[in-house]
Amino acid sequence: MASQPILELENVSSSYGNIKALKGISLKVYSGEIVAIIGANGAGKSTTLMVTCGIIPVDDGDIFYNGQSIRGMAAEKLPVQGLCQVPEGRRIFPRLTVHENLELGAFCRRKRAEIDKDMAYVYSLFPTLQERRKQQGGTLSGGEQQMLAIGRALMTKPKVLLMDEPSLGLAPLFVQKIFDIIHDINKKNGTTILLVEQNANLALKAAARGYVLETGTIMMEDNADSLLHNPEIRKAYLGE
């Protein structure tokens, strides 16, 4: 494992008005690994990702990407540097076609040849998207929309991919498919992935390390395997 984390949150806190969503969380993500953040509803998982991406402002603490502070940086500057998010609930552009959605992922890039190459890669990863490239994004099924959201994020050519609940509202068959692809993206491209999930079982099986988030603080941090076998975790998040 590299000595310097590619993404590091240092004592970050954030709030919505008077409500503190994050109460000083610290986490590290190293290059090339999959890290999972698990936790219940309202624990601050999505907020963590939104804060990292600069959508929600940081109250206190600092965020480092590639060793540089990105706190307070405009959200639109991060994809250029290779930090991209697949937001919760997919949030694709419903009235744009599949192809246009993907093109938009490459908005911050200029080199046409490379974009075309990545487009071909995304289509090879998700053949259904290729079939439906002229269809409006909103007419896709939930699983296909998730694929589109992932594909769109891949079009930014991310070094670090933040994924918010990729299994949300999907049929079990699709969930497995999505996780296979997450695994694939990580292994084949070496893309670092920070995964937020309610489905703790799946997330911990896919990840190397995990953080447990509870009401805005990190309760536990360990190897994914150890967390998976930790009796407390099993009781609280795996329903045993």
């Binding site: 991060l78 076609t97 093109e103 930014t156």
Partner: protein, 408 residues
């Protein structure tokens, strides 16, 4: 047939009762305070009978009893559809363009005047379309930029004698600047809040024009603005230029046509560009667009400024055509009118907005006799449109020619 009827009789009856409730105060209450029922019921009876007839036709059509009558027509319609589908789009555009070019040759002054109006509103509608249809920001004060353009030309021409062609870019530039000044603080807002702020801005500009007597001559307006001019070379006894004013309606029509064409081409190119796609992404989901690296603030400002440019151009022409400007031309009603054209025609659709502008200008002219009912009919048409064709007369095509253009 009975089965079909059972499905629709309830809303039909409710609709008729509702209509009675609406009609009675309209026709039954007299200015002197007396009440009457006779007229209401007569009118209501006529409407009810014709509606029943429509209902009968509808039910018969649904249950297939009208097939005998309608079959030849469907064949005919299909044939037309096929024939028109075979012609490539550019032929249609060419036909339309030829028609527009020849139009003044076979029409009178009145028709030319109306057509010029339509062309101005096409510019306005397409400009607003960039803001509302593409970037998805509801702008209720759009006409303010039209006013800025009009007053720019009026003042420049009156005080400095500058020609229309020089003022045209200046008007566009000033309108754009106004757009940026307003946009900068307000575009951080979303949805309803933005609509209210732009509404306020529109009113501010109108009131400013109304009250700044020293500059704008207030409600009296500015008189004596020159029409667009051309320099014509003259060769009698040496070489010189003669200033030729395009005062005739026919000439003005061609200037408006040129402006409208420039607007159509510019908006089309914007629409199919990378920026256009980013605007649409912002309209669809601003946060997601931001996450994909779209500088939402800058692009929204750009959309606003672009919309303002077209309004500024149209405004300068308006001043040159009327040779008179007053704040009265830039009321909220005008903003609402342009917005209606965009919504009626189909947001984001260029042919739709052209049709919308034509419909909203020409139809009131055609039905001049019913002028006092104009707003009533207008409102009703809007309600009907939103119920049956919420996407507009010609909905924007979403099967992307744009995506395929660049390949991939």
């Amino acid at each position: 047939m009975i089965h079909e009827f059972k499905k629709v009789w309830k809303p039909y009856t409710i609709g008729l009762v509702w209509l009675l409730g609406l009609l009675w105060p309209l026709l039954g209450i007299h200015p002197d305070g007396t009440l009457s029922f006779g007229k209401t019921f007569t009118v209501w009876f006529y409407i009810a009978v014709s509606a029943s007839f429509c209902l009968l036709l509808y039910v018969m059509n649904k249950s297939g009893r009208l097939d005998v009558v309608s079959r030849p027509f469907t064949g005919f319609r299909e044939a037309i559809k096929q024939a028109s589908g075979k012609l490539p789009v550019w032929i249609w555009i060419l036909i339309l363009l030829l028609f527009a070019l020849c139009y003044p040759q076979f029409t009178n002054r009145y028709a030319q005047d109306v057509a010029t109006n339509v062309l101005i509103y096409i510019c306005l509608g397409l400009g607003l379309n960039v803001v509302v249809g593409l970037a998805g920001m509801l702008d209720l004060g759009y006409i303010a930029f039209y006013g800025v353009g009009a007053y720019t030309y009026a003042l420049m021409n009156l005080h400095f004698g500058m020609s229309f062609w020089v003022c045209l870019p200046i008007a566009a530039l000033l309108a754009m600047t106004a757009g940026c000044i307003i946009g900068y603080p307000t575009l951080r807002m979303r949805g309803d809040y933005l609509a209210i702020v732009t509404l306020g801005f529109g009113e501010i500009v109108r009131i400013l024009l109304n009250n700044w007597m020293a500059l704008t001559n207030g409600p009296n307006g500015l008189l004596g603005i020159k029409a667009p001019s051309l320099l014509i070379p003259v060769f009698d006894g040496g070489f010189s230029f003669e200033v030729f004013y395009l005062k005739k309606l026919q000439y003005l029509y061609y200037v408006a046509l040129a402006l409208a064409l420039i607007t159509v081409i510019a908006v089309r190119n914007l629409n199919f560009s990378r920026i256009g796609r980013a605007w649409e992404a912002i309209r669809e989901d601003e946060t997601a667009a931001e996450l994909m690296g779209v500088n939402t603030f800058l692009l929204k400002l750009l959309a606003y400024a672009m919309g303002a440019i077209f309004a500024g151009l149209a405004g300068a022409f308006f001043a040159a055509r009327m040779r008179f400007v007053s704040p009265e031309s830039f009321t909220f009603l005008e903003s609402a009118m342009v917005l209606s054209m965009v919504v009626l025609g189909g947001m984001g659709s260029i042919p739709g907005i052209i049709l919308g502008a034509a419909a909203l200008i020409v139809l009131p002219e055609v039905f001049r006799e019913f002028e006092s009912y104009r707003m009533l009919a207008f409102g009703m048409a809007m309600v009907v449109m939103m119920l049956f064709r919420p996407e507009g007369l010609i909905p924007a095509k979403r099967v992307g020619g744009r995506s395929e253009e660049k390949g991939g």
